[in-house]
């Protein structure tokens, strides 16, 4: 049987639709709030009724510019809306108003950190403004589909990357970084489950070392990072298997279903489309004045990259910790608030990335819905730092805080009597009891040489801590034990 020794390389590019968090639609004054009853937020313009006309939302322009500034891109001072013509029931006018030749955001870039801790640059080809479509609902209305146009006209920026990623991990790292950028900028709520950020992935494979690109497929509907990683890996495997079995990849659009972990070809999109783009005659060129650019530049928040640098330089975090903690706006904000309240950045970093992350994960929660606030966690850090409690007890306090047993660390420590014992006499008394109860171990210890004693002392520390219910200061226990054991 033939087994391939061919090394394959995947080439991945992303197209990301980001819903801008404006109050109103891109071309009408209808609300964009999520979750309203069907068609109650679709006005005559959104429905494409005859005689209605679009007027561009000022804030959508601002948000697109902010994105451009956030990825170091050129802002096209003259940008033009065009019509992309096709028929679909969720597209009321029979064309999507979008940008093609003159998009608002030109070439830019986003840097990501790879697994080997090196930095990798993903180039952004451009980003353009466009309107979102409505939704087709396929519940049964006597064999019909229902059309809800509330989402129609919601402003989007579509971000198109160069094919600069080589595996699913890189693509996900990029996606996370992009998520962090748009949420930091405050131009998108970042809620992927509601479709606020939608990732389409272009994947092709080629033999390692080959310059020419393979035929690519586009996989749509990736509404979580987890699904994105799985779907990309699956698609890479599928393409490699296909080619190795003597087949060829066909250019197609595939729809991934996260629940079943299955992707299928979208037949309806297979038909070659001729979109007949041309400049929208109902709209005039958008001209961005220098004064607008300057004002927006002055309002720019600290971007993830700058924040990471500050975490390293000012807070003394490692590259890795800084990268993880600056990677998502909510996490970064939480960490900083906890570090500030607790007075120890490294300790806060360890907790946010360790105990907190683990507990959130176990409970399937986002940091934004964490029951323990950053200030409360900071308060807990402060008690570790001033030796009121040990790190071990702190975990107990944290657990209590998570369950809502007390408003802050001090309350829990007080109520549960967890304050660390630092009184020498009290600790000595416990040690005396432990030694008296374990004469055999004392004898063995005293007979052992220095090298072995190091290990053996652990037994007495454990027994002492246990007897103190974990409240004895571990450092002092160690010190006093050594003295007493001689």
């Amino acid at each position: 049987m033939f087994t391939s020794t061919m090394q394959w390389e995947a080439v991945i590019g992303l197209e990301i639709h980001v819903q801008l968090s404006t109050k109103t639609k891109i071309f009408s004054g209808a609300s964009t709030a999520f979750g309203a009853e069907a068609n109650t937020q679709a006005c005559a313009i959104d429905l494409g009724l005859p005689g209605t006309l679009p007027v561009v939302n000022d804030e959508a322009i601002n948000m697109a510019i902010k994105f451009g500034l956030g990825i170091d891109a050129e802002i096209n001072k003259v940008n033009v809306f065009e019509r992309k013509n096709y028929f679909y029931p969720d597209l009321p006018k029979g064309y999507q108003t979008t940008q093609l030749e003159k998009p608002i955001v030109g070439a830019g870039h986003v840097d990501i950190m790879l697994d080997d801790k090196s930095t990798h640059r993903v180039r952004i080809h451009h980003a353009h403004l466009e309107e979102d479509a409505g939704k087709s609902l396929h519940e049964d209305f006597a064999g019909m589909s229902g059309i809800d146009l509330n989402r129609a006209g919601t402003p989007l920026i579509e971000i198109v990357t160069e094919p600069d990623m080589r595996n699913a991990r890189q693509a996900v790292a990029f996606a996370r970084k992009l998520h962090s950028i748009v949420t930091t900028l405050g131009i998108c709520d970042g809620d992927m489950s509601q479709g606020s950020m939608r990732f389409d992935v272009n994947v092709s494979v080629r033999p390692q070392g080959q310059e020419e690109l393979g035929t690519r497929t586009e996989t749509k509907n990736l509404n979580s990072f987890k699904f994105m990683e799985r779907a990309i890996n699956k698609e890479i495997e599928r393409q490699i298997e296909l080619i190795e079995d003597g087949g060829t990849v066909i250019q197609e659009t595939r729809l991934y279903n996260g629940d079943t972990d299955v992707a299928r070809s979208m037949r309806s999109k297979e038909e070659a489309n001729d979109y007949r783009y041309f400049p929208c005659p109902d709209l005039l060129p958008v001209v961005i004045e220098d004064s607008r650019l300057e004002k927006l530049r002055a309002e720019m928040p600290e971007m993830p990259e700058a924040r990471k640098a500050r975490f390293i330089n000012e807070l003394g975090l490692s590259d890795y910790d800084a990268d993880v903690l600056s990677g998502e706006l909510a996490t970064a904000d939480y960490f900083e608030a906890a570090a500030k309240a607790g007075g120890d950045a490294k300790l806060a970093a360890n907790w946010v990335m360790g105990e907190l992350a683990k507990t959130l994960n176990q409970n399937d929660l986002d940091i934004s819905s964490c029951p323990v606030s950053a200030e409360v966690l900071g308060g807990l850090m402060a008690r570790i730092k001033d030796n009121t409690i040990s790190g071990k007890i702190a975990k107990q306090v944290f657990e209590a805080l998570w369950k809502g047993e007390g408003a802050n660390a001090d309350e829990v420590i007080q109520a549960k009597g967890l304050k660390q014992v630092t009184d020498t006499g009290a600790i000595e008394a416990i040690i005396d009891d432990v030694l008296a109860a374990n004469p055999k171990q004392v004898e063995q210890y005293q007979a052992a040489d220095e090298a072995k004693r190091g290990k053996m002392v652990g037994f007495f520390v454990g027994q002492t801590m246990k007897a103190s219910k974990g409240k004895a200061n571990p450092g002092m226990v160690n010190q006093l034990l050594k003295k007493k054991l001689g």
């Binding site: 006005c43 939302n57 059309i147 999109k269 005659p281």
Partner: protein, 95 residues
């Protein structure tokens, strides 16, 4: 430019217009004669000329991001050929 029948049929599909056997011949003839009129412009020297999309060199005015539209569903759906539970109904959409 002579337009053939299959071109007319494929453009009719793009424009979602059904076109019957009876119509296709006359339509093809008429489109061909219209394209003949249009093709006259190929003789014009437009080298270096920028396309003009709008007669005035005006720029887009921007609208403040304020909600100005209230729910008018009932009113707006009064013209709908088929609507139920606030949704516009169409034959089943297959993706």
């Amino acid at each position: 430019m002579a337009i053939d029948r299959s071109t007319v049929e494929s453009v009719a599909h793009l424009a979602r217009l059904s076109i019957s056997e009876d119509e296709v011949r006359q339509t093809t003839e008429q489109i061909t004669s219209i394209m003949g009129l249009i093709d006259e412009m190929q003789a014009v020297d437009t080298h270096g000329v920028e396309p003009l999309a709008h007669p005035l060199d005006a720029v887009q005015r921007l609208r403040a991001d304020e909600v100005t539209e209230t729910n008018q569903r009932e009113n707006l759906q009064a013209n709908a050929p088929a609507a139920e539970e606030g949704l516009f109904l169409v034959p089943r959409v297959i993706e």
